[in-house]
Symmetry: C2
Amino acid sequence: MPTVSSEELAAAAGVNSAKLRKDFSYLGSYGTRGVGYDVEYLVYQISRELGLTQDWPVVIVGIGNLGAALANYGGFASRGFRVAALIDADPALAGKPVAGIPVRHSDDLEKIIQDNGVSIGVIATPAGAAQQVCDRLVAAGVTSILNFAPTVLSVPDGVDVRKVDLSIELQILAFHEQRKAGEEAAADGAVPATAARKQSAGKGPDGDMPAVMPA
Amino acid sequence: MPTVSSEELAAAAGVNSAKLRKDFSYLGSYGTRGVGYDVEYLVYQISRELGLTQDWPVVIVGIGNLGAALANYGGFASRGFRVAALIDADPALAGKPVAGIPVRHSDDLEKIIQDNGVSIGVIATPAGAAQQVCDRLVAAGVTSILNFAPTVLSVPDGVDVRKVDLSIELQILAFHEQRKAGEEAAADGAVPATAARKQSAGKGPDGDMPAVMPA
DNA sequence: ATGTCTTTGTGAACGCGTGCACAAAGATGG
DNA sequence: CCATCTTTGTGCACGCGTTCACAAAGACAT
């Protein structure tokens, strides 16, 4: 039986082995003392906990460049997602296949959601259309929305929204880049080191970058 | 002089006002006691600290659907980014304008980087080409890379890489969606509440979702 | 001027997550 | 069957970030 120890996994993931064991313990006691974790069983349990074993039908609304890129993205299928439909408001697109899936007109949005039991919607429309699309998705029964449009969506309680801003990651890189340049200048002793400059590991999701910024 | 108080800002952002003030204090003492913060000056100071006042030339490599979507994305310019060039390995694309910028062939990659003083590169190529492109970018002087390809890039010390996995956000939504369904079942008293189920605010970057998952 | 009122800036306390360290558990060998 | 060795699971302590609470500072009225 192939096994891994928490030590091996922790080293590979670059985290503390105790934390890893403690995290695993929340899922139950799958390990065997003196041996480690059964790889196959562990993968199954984690997959199940994360929902990877379920089939999640999703719809993508707005089939521009970004929508098409998402439709073509291979990472979805392997993580339990199935693109149930592509939806766009442009009649010229209707029927045309993108990534092997025919685009459907947004008039059918509600019917598509209900027929496929979709609870997760992806919005890749221009900013102006996003809220309207969102409202229709929610009204049709969608309870989780992934928003790529540069707008803050308002939704009723019980509906989850996650906003993906493609420029934020660039922003973070630029911030670190500026920091690098600043470090060199500071090495000459001219610029006083600010408290914010105290650490720059650059490992976490957002490093030590401030969270608030102007529009 | 238009001003805002930390209380107003905190309420708008949904955070604690003391934390907001403490964060601002790291940038210096811009506030006036009894009055608040001068809006215009505050915006300028934060913009400067975040690097928004600088001009960051970037190149986008790999002009498929995703690369084109990025090139068209309006959020870049407003945040101080300037798309210096679009680069693709396909000779058929060379010269064709995307988002008003002519695509250039990847043979010229090094020259483009150096001529424009680019230090930030965006990789939107297929997975297979990503590492090779990355190596060339780094060799040409790029020190920050935003990677959209589903590969982990290896880079020398001093180079920052941020990986954007479009399916991770969906994953997180599905995780919460599953949790919602689980809550209902648990309400019948059958399933014991696990420690992991204790909180589900769903506000933070990744909520309370486990960080490790199988490929 | 002097007093009052508002809001900042920050020292100090609290709470939570991380990591240490070890007892418990099971495998393995003599 | 006992001893030894490995690795898990977890109580506990430490450290860091968040929040509280208040003194200091400035505006504004009288």
